[in-house]
């Protein structure tokens, strides 16, 4: 589904605090509470929206992360990206057109463990030709309200 203006307005109000009641949302947008409830239900069952808890990464015990870019053998990119996506520490995995074939984002509790996982498991996945690791040192923006239900 694609969001219309009403869907977007509802989501904009709920993005920083989705515990705002349907009644408050209805009042802010001058629509009925029933409409808010109906739209949320529609978006949720279409898997276009999810209400959930976003946790601060450091407080949750994750003190390191890595942006991985991989070059793969021709036609192996999907297998590699799929294998990485299965890892619980993987927050993002995608196929890429460009200098690399796969892009992934991992979070971890400490650098040594993460380095070990990348070296012993990811680098040795069948089809991986080369691997580039970038280490985040700060964040200037993160729209945690975007995601993808796959």
């Amino acid at each position: 589904m694609k969001f219309d203006n009403v869907d977007t307005a509802i989501l904009d109000l709920l993005r920083a605090n989705a515990r705002t009641s349907n009644r408050e949302v209805a009042r802010a947008l001058d629509i009925s509470e029933g409409m808010v409830r109906q739209r949320l239900k529609k978006m949720e069952s279409a898997k276009a929206m999810r209400i959930g808890l976003v946790a601060d990464i450091a407080t949750a015990g994750y003190h390191c992360s890595a942006i991985l870019r991989l070059r793969t053998e021709p036609n192996r990119a999907r297998d590699v990206a799929t294998a990485i996506a299965k890892l619980e520490c993987c927050a993002f995995s995608g196929l890429v057109l460009g200098r690399f074939d796969v892009l992934a984002f991992l979070i971890g509790q400490n650098r040594a463990e993460m380095a070990e996982l990348i070296d012993s498991h990811i680098a040795r996945l069948p089809g991986v030709v080369a691997l580039d690791i970038r280490e985040p040192v700060g964040s200037a923006k993160q729209r945690y309200d975007f995601m993808c239900v796959t």
Partner: protein, 165 residues
Amino acid sequence: MASPTKTPHMLDDLDQRIISQLRTEPRATSTVLALQLHVTEATITARIRALERKGVMRISAQRDFRAAGFEVLAYVDISVAGRPVQHVAQDLAAIDNISIVTLVMGDPAIMLLAMATSLASLQDMVLGEIAKVSGVRCVETMIISEVLKYQSEFASLAEEDTHEI
């Protein structure tokens, strides 16, 4: 600007239990939570407000980027010259359809996740808005042709400005 070296907040047992409940039922009312956790409603409300204020957690309505009309995702590497990296990063963060701005070790020092409704509008963003930011020396764009997984369950909330999102 958030940095992973900041000391994380200590959470007590009740905070942990509240977070655990909210993971499964993010919109559970304070009344229900109070009953489940055997504390007063006022305690629940105060604890949740404190957790949000301290940037420990947010309850967020998250949207699928495709339903939001974005057809193209791209990762963009930015090399910086002539200005501090943090200042360039902040100017890039002000661009609307850039959803993630990450400072990384080494060079290129900034990596962005850009969202666009079409290739044409991605081009406008890269050649137009991004190129115009002072201090941007070099730009490399990688088009994400297919997303296999994209979760946003963790973020650097602790030093978030309210206008950033």
